[in-house]
Amino acid sequence: MGELRLMKGNEAIAEAFIREGVDAYYGYPITPQSEVMEYLTAERPEKRTGMVVLQAESELAAINMVYGAACTGKKVVTSSSSPGISLMQEGISYIAGSEVPCVLLNVVRGGPGLGDIQPAQSDYFQSVKGGGHGDYRQIVLAPSSVQDMYDHVSLAFELAFKYRILVLIQSDGLIGQMMEKVEIGEQKPRLTNEEIKAKYDTWALTGRTPGREHNIVTSLELDQAKQEQFNIHLQNKYKEIAENEVLYEEMEVEDADYILVAYGSSSRICRKAVNLAREKGLKVGLLRPITLWPFPEKRIAELAKRVKGMLSVEMSAGQMVEDVRLAVNGKIKVEHFGRYGGMIHTPEEVLEALETKIIGG
């Protein structure tokens, strides 16, 4: 067993960046994720592993530093919170158009606009439907505990490099700010330049290799026929991801009449709501998507064949509920419940909503 520590989600993920052997972090501070860079700078990762930690002059600069460094096959990461992630959308679209692997963390706060600094899940649309321009997708992981914040870093980089895609870890102010027990893993070594060249020489900018053409990393292709071919290639890649990389977790669904669908912080609140419901004799289960894209639509469609209703519980005005409805395709009743704008629902409120909107509704 690894070392046990009591850490905030933001600190745990920062430690995970170092232990993953990440080459560089570029970021710009914003509440409620400022502890990420605070922790990184206090830990002096340039001494621990040689990792670069740089405070950029803006979010725009940070995402473009990520883009540039990721072109070289290095492991790079940035983090921000909602308004900062909005500022990064241009770079995110370029990264998708250039197929470079990298990892982003969004510790979501209440919006729209500057909103507030309390936890929210109102960036779901931006994360899974694409906040930038063009036909692109990104893998979205939704941690629901401080341990997940730590563990998802490895998973995110594995997927990012497997598919040359941006992986977004969508957390929120609650998971970021709360402390829980975390088991810390081993330090992975950073790859050497030679190792990177050996692994990613087919696409990365690692210096000219005699005998092969120049690698060009760009999102620009003015020949529309070639651009269409490139887009088809992207869509095929996304299809492969959707078929192979869906992750979800279930609680008490075997005999359930009703299902709560919730991710991240909200799924934690729903675990308690399931317990409260069971105490009252109501057969309620929970489906927690771990990947928000690709979405566990097949599993939801299967469950829709045998349960009576589903409640999508999100700290938003109702965003994921649209994907739940698409998956259910009219077979059963699907409603949304959630507090938003930085407010957090309680387990009792969730149960009450289930009783009024689904069971009695």
Partner: protein
């Protein structure tokens, strides 16, 4: 065993660190913990509270409306959290600055005059450890030995010389806690 606690008082009283030390102590005995502060644009003198959950099982919601225990350290928190204690639960409070003491008859109420005691001990900073001692006397969920281990883990090395004083404050809190209402 699952114990759901709210600790509430003024910023600067050591509310968050009291919760942190309790959480660390529970980790030392290999329990699951969560520590969820009310955070925001807050400051010294403003209200501060933290929800701490200790459990033998995986912890579900870190956000709660009802608590097994409320540790209340100022009047605003009394107004806000007295009603949040589950029937049969525990309310532990320090009466410094309390104008309206707790009135519920369906919960166990204990008083710890921690501010007074800390002043007597000559260090206002041990206040939160006096409160912790009182709590552990009523609910001995973590061993004192694990609290000391927890203190070592949560305090930076340069402050380890303060541990004996904190231990003394905890023992003092255990000594002076008083029952006011039992159900």
């Amino acid at each position: 065993m699952t114990e759901e606690i709210i600790i509430a008082g003024f910023g600067g009283q050591g509310v968050l660190s009291l919760g942190k030390i309790l959480a660390y102590s529970a980790i030392m005995q290999n329990q699951e913990v969560s520590w969820m502060p009310s955070y925001g644009p807050e400051m010294r003198g403003g209200t501060a509270n933290v929800t701490v959950i200790l459990s033998d099982e995986r912890i579900s919601s870190p956000v709660l409306r009802k608590f097994d225990t409320a540790i209340i350290l100022n009047q605003q928190s009394m107004d806000k959290f007295q009603e949040a204690v589950k029937p049969g639960g525990l309310l532990l409070y320090d009466n410094n600055g309390i104008i309206h003491p707790p009135t519920r008859k369906d919960i166990n109420i204990y008083l710890v005059e921690a501010a007074k005691e800390a002043a007597k001990m000559g260090s206002a900073k041990t206040f939160n450890m006096v409160v912790l001692g009182a709590y552990l006397k009523i609910k001995p969920l973590v061993e004192l030995e694990n609290v000391i281990k927890g203190l070592k883990k949560s305090l930076p090395e340069r402050h380890h010389k303060l541990i004996p004083m904190n231990e003394k404050a905890i023992l003092q809190g255990m000594e002076i806690v008083k029952e006011e209402n039992l159900v």
